[in-house]
C-alpha cells in the first residue's frame, strides 16, 4: 500500500508543479502585453542576456565546430567520404548543437543569476516592497526577463551558428587541407532554411524556458541564503532538463515523420 501511495504522491506532486509553473508563465506572459511597460528594464535584461553571453556562447560554438570537423574526419576518411564534413558540421550546428549548447550555457549564466537576484529580492522583502509601491512584481520583474530571454536567444544562436561553422571551416581548411572555396560552397549548398529556422525556434523556446525557470525558482524561494542557493540550483537543473526534453519534442515536430 505504501508503495502505491508513494506513486500517487509523486504523480500528484508532478502535476501540481506543472500547474503552478504554467500559471506562473501565463501570468508573466499576460503582463508582457498589458501596460504599463518597462522598456528600460527589458533593454537591460536584453543586454545582460544577449550581449554579455556572447563570449561564452561564441567560445562554445567555435570549439564545437572545430571538434565536429575533427571527429567526422577520423570517421569519414575511412570511407573516403571527407566531402560530407561541411554537411555534417553545418547541419549539426544549426539544427542541434547551436541551440542546445547555447541554451545550456545561457541557462548556467542567466538562469542562475536571475534565480539568485529574484531570490535575494524575495528574502529581503524587496518583492513585497514593489507591491506596496503599487508596482506589480510580475510586470516589473518577470515580464521583462521572459521577453528578453525569448527574443535574445535566437540572435545568440544565429551568431553561434556562424561561429560554429567558422570553427569547422578553420579546422578543415587549415588542418585537414580542404579547399576553402569547396568547403564554403558545400556548406552553403547543404544547408536549407528549415535547418536554421528549427534551430531558431528551439532557441526562442529555450530562452523563454531559461528565464521562466530562473524567475519561478527565484520568485518563490524562501528561507534566507540557503533557500536562495537551492533556488539557483533548481533553476539551472530544471532549465537544462527542460531544454533537452523540449529539444527532442521540437525536433520531432520539425523533422520526425
Amino acid at each position: 500500500m505504501n508503495f502505491l501511495r508513494l506513486i500517487g504522491q509523486v504523480v500528484l506532486g508532478f502535476f501540481s508543479i506543472v500547474g503552478r509553473v504554467s500559471l506562473f508563465a501565463l501570468t508573466g506572459v499576460s503582463h508582457i502585453f498589458r501596460p504599463p511597460f518597462f522598456p528600460r528594464l527589458v533593454l537591460r535584461q536584453m543586454i545582460e542576456i544577449g550581449y554579455y553571453s556572447l563570449p561564452v556562447v561564441g567560445l562554445t560554438a567555435i570549439f564545437t565546430g572545430m571538434v565536429l570537423a575533427l571527429q567526422s574526419y577520423t570517421g569519414f576518411s575511412r570511407f573516403s567520404a571527407e566531402s560530407a564534413i561541411p554537411n555534417v558540421v553545418v547541419l549539426s550546428i544549426t539544427r542541434e548543437l547551436g541551440p542546445v549548447l547555447a541554451g545550456l550555457m545561457v541557462a548556467g549564466r542567466i538562469g542562475a543569476a536571475m534565480a539568485a537576484e529574484l531570490g535575494t529580492m524575495r528574502v529581503t522583502e524587496q518583492i513585497d516592497a514593489l507591491t506596496t509601491l503599487s508596482t506589480n512584481p510580475f510586470k516589473y520583474l518577470i515580464a521583462p526577463r521572459l521577453l528578453a530571454g525569448l527574443s535574445m536567444l535566437p540572435i545568440l544562436v544565429l551568431v553561434a551558428d556562424l561561429i560554429g561553422v567558422l570553427g569547422g571551416y578553420l579546422v578543415s581548411v587549415h588542418l585537414l587541407d580542404f579547399n576553402a572555396t569547396t568547403y564554403l560552397r558545400n556548406t552553403w549548398n547543404f544547408v536549407e532554411s528549415p535547418d536554421i529556422i528549427s534551430g531558431l525556434v528551439k532557441a526562442a523556446v529555450f530562452g523563454f524556458l531559461i528565464s521562466l525557470m530562473g524567475c519561478y525558482h527565484g520568485y518563490y524561494s524562501k528561507g534566507g541564503a540557503q533557500g536562495v542557493g537551492q533556488a539557483t540550483t533548481n533553476a539551472v537543473v530544471s532549465a537544462a532538463i527542460l531544454i533537452l526534453s523540449f529539444n527532442y519534442v521540437i525536433t520531432a515536430l520539425f523533422f520526425g515523420q
Partner: protein, 263 residues
C-alpha cells in the same frame, strides 16, 4: 479623505474574524481590530504570534483563509487585481530590513512610487525625492549613493522616505527599530511620529520593542495566540489589568505566556 475620517465615519482599517493558517499551524484565529483615521496603532506581541501575517494580510501580500478586511469602508478581501492596486495606492510601508532596491540609487528608491505608480516625470520626482530625504534628515548627496553603501540607520531613514514620498493615507511600520542601537531607534521613532503627524496619515505598526511602542503609539493592542487580547490607549498600558500584557511589557519570563523553547 481626512474630512470624512474625522467624525467616526468608516474606520480607516477594519478587520473582522481574520483567520490564517500555514499548514497545520493556525497563526491568526479570528482576529478583530479597528484603526481610526489619523490614529497611530501599535500592535505588540511576541515573535511568531502573527503580527507580520496581520500586516501582510491587510496590504494584500497574503490571502487570509477567512474574515474580512475593510479599508475606508471598502471590503478588500476578494477584490480583483486592479481594484486591489487602487487600494494599495493608499499605502506606504517601512519594512523591517528597509527592503531598498539594491539595483537603484537612493533617490531612485525614494522616487520609485512617484515614477512607477504616479507616472511623475523623473526630474520632478528627483526633486521631490531629495525634499523627502531632507525630511528624514538626509542630505542630497546621499541620494546618489547605492543602498548598500548606507548604515542600517540610514537605510531605515531611506525606507521611511520611500514610504512617505507618495503621501500615503495609511503607513505600515514593520518592526521599525529592530536591528538599530537604542539611540538610533529613538531617532527613527521621532521621525516616524513627525512624518505621520505632518502627513495626517493613519499608522499601523508592529513591534516587540516596548520603548518604541510607547513613543509612536496613540493606542496599543496586544496580539496573543492569533487574537487581540488587549486594546487601549498607550497611557493605560501600565494599568491594563491583563496578566499577559503585564508580563510582556515588563519582559518577565514567568507568567501566563509560556515561551516555547525547543532544543
Amino acid at each position: 479623505m481626512s474630512e470624512n475620517g474625522a467624525n467616526s465615519a468608516p474606520k480607516k482599517i477594519s478587520v473582522r474574524g481574520l483567520t490564517k493558517s500555514f499548514g497545520k499551524k493556525q497563526v491568526l484565529q479570528g482576529l478583530d481590530i479597528d484603526v481610526g483615521a489619523q490614529e497611530s496603532l501599535v500592535v505588540i506581541g511576541g515573535s511568531g504570534t502573527g503580527k507580520s501575517v496581520l500586516i501582510k494580510s491587510i496590504i494584500g501580500l497574503l490571502n487570509p483563509d477567512a474574515g474580512t478586511i475593510k479599508i475606508d469602508g471598502e471590503t478588500v478581501t476578494g477584490m480583483s487585481g486592479s481594484e486591489r492596486e487602487r487600494i494599495t495606492g493608499k499605502f506606504g510601508m517601512l519594512f523591517q530590513g528597509a527592503a531598498l532596491f539594491d539595483s537603484l540609487t537612493v533617490w531612485e528608491n525614494v522616487a520609485f512610487g512617484l515614477i512607477q505608480a504616479r507616472g511623475m516625470a523623473r526630474g520632478l520626482a528627483k526633486e521631490k525625492a531629495i525634499a523627502t530625504l531632507a525630511q528624514v534628515g538626509l542630505s542630497s548627496d546621499v541620494g546618489e549613493l547605492a543602498p548598500s553603501e548606507l548604515s542600517g540607520g540610514m537605510q531605515k531613514r531611506v525606507g521611511l522616505a520611500r514610504a512617505i514620498a507618495t503621501e500615503p493615507e495609511i503607513i505600515f511600520f514593520d518592526e521599525p527599530t529592530t536591528g538599530l542601537d537604542p539611540i538610533m531607534g529613538s531617532v527613527i521613532d521621532d521621525l516616524i511620529s513627525k512624518c505621520v503627524r505632518e502627513l495626517g496619515a493613519t499608522a499601523l505598526s508592529i513591534t516587540h520593542d516596548m520603548a518604541s511602542a510607547r513613543r509612536i503609539a496613540d493606542r496599543v493592542a496586544m496580539i496573543y495566540e492569533g487574537r487581540i487580547i488587549w486594546d487601549g490607549p498607550v497611557s493605560e498600558i501600565d494599568n491594563s489589568g491583563n496578566p499577559h500584557v503585564e508580563q510582556f511589557i515588563n519582559g518577565r519570563s514567568e507568567g501566563p505566556i509560556q515561551m516555547q523553547v525547543t532544543g
